[in-house]
Symmetry: C2
Subunit: 249 residues, 2 copies
């Protein structure tokens, strides 16, 4: 969606290592915003983005206007499995249908051999991978690690909505997930308690919490004590700004 930061540039680094020709798509996708969400105020910085991409040796930017991608209202959409209804999908109904549909359209237009997605949008990465498998798409999905600020805050275009005080507070989301990761890594399997404590901590510091939730990494279903590969995901608000983050365990 443009407004490129060091997280995006890391995706492009990875793409540059894999491919002879890297195409960057920049498109603020209306399909994945709910009516009350920040589609209109979402930061659009196309000129700066192109300068940053030039420095990364990117030769092709695909930045269509809406009429190119949607000459008629989008009536063919993807119907997704129930994994799209938890976590982000629970708090942003229709979000993943919008994401999956635009990703499918972009894949069909660009026809890339590889596509690089960041782990910060962990559930999105999971759903795109599944879509590729289930629709037999001829593309390989590459995951890229989340890039963080010095205090641990995951980079995000939405971070710029934060004022100075909020910005100082924002890294608590990461710190809270990190505490859960450490607890689980040392053998604590009281997932419910870990989640609840994390929610309580954030609330005490002024956050509104959508979820702090521990899941199986392979299926993204809620973690069972027997699961080996886990991920803890969180979404919470500071005033009007919604931040998400996750850590693999």
């Amino acid at each position: 969606m443009g407004n490129l930061h060091a997280g995006h540039l890391a995706l492009i680094d990875q793409a540059n290592q894999l491919a002879d020709c890297v195409v960057v798509s920049i498109f603020v996708n209306r399909l994945q915003f709910l009516p009350h969400e920040d589609f209109n105020r979402y930061p659009r910085t196309f000129e700066e983005d192109c300068r940053a991409l030039s420095l990364q040796n990117v030769k092709i930017v695909f930045a269509p206007n809406e009429k190119i991608l949607f000459p008629t209202p989008q009536e063919f959409l993807l119907a997704l499995p129930s994994v799209a209804d938890i976590l982000e999908g629970k708090f942003r109904p229709g979000f993943f249908r919008g994401v999956a549909t635009i990703v499918l359209k972009l894949f069909n237009i660009i026809q890339p051999e590889f596509a690089v997605f960041g782990k910060k949008d962990y559930q999105q990465l999971h759903i795109v991978r599944k879509m590729v498998q289930q629709l037999n798409l001829p593309v390989e999905i590459i995951a890229s690690e989340t890039v963080r600020a010095a205090d641990g805050l995951a980079l995000s275009s939405r971070n710029q909505y934060l004022n100075e005080v909020q910005r100082a507070e924002a890294s608590r989301l990461y710190q809270t997930l990190l505490r859960i990761k450490k607890e689980i890594s040392s053998g604590n399997k009281n997932f419910q308690t870990l989640q609840q404590n994390a929610v309580d901590t954030l609330k005490q510091h002024g956050w509104r919490v959508d979820y702090i939730s521990i899941h199986s990494r392979n299926t993204l279903s809620f973690a069972q004590a027997s699961d080996q590969d886990l991920v803890v995901l969180g979404a919470a608000w500071l005033d009007n700004t919604r931040l998400i983050d996750n850590l693999e365990i």
Copy 2:
């Protein structure tokens, strides 16, 4: 779905004229059958099909087993616009979702430059064309004319379900559509009456009629008096055999 007849072979003729390399897919797609429909008794004649394809100079047949196309249950499906809920979609709910999903998977696997579809499945052709536009699929859809027996009956694998008496009666579906076409071509715009008379005629000869219906060719919505390009579509049963046909006007 295999069980090739002269209608299929005409599609392949057309493909041979367009392409250096023709791939024929043969797959009886469970997704497009309702639970009570004829998935199990649908005629499967793979060896004969391959002999016929050899004579047509086809070098590649893609005939996957179900585990290849569906290693896991298909959870990503297409959500279709309302044009998928009329005509065939009204009488076979879920049919076009199953068709569109398998066609999308086959396109992604084969990655054809062209794909040839018969006009006999007129609504299917319409929906596949729209899907290609709306999902930006890199394939060109080619329409192929319906092939008919000497008495006008559209060729169909399901014709072999008919006994001798039914086979003699079966061409009445075509004759009935032809009468509507002639009436409209001479200026009759009483669509409702034309449809009702056709239904009555078929019923008098022992048919159970799902629909006889006049539509805009471009949108497939119900015909308005102002529409120029029309198509009349019909679906009706002789005992346990369901036949469909259509004529452009």
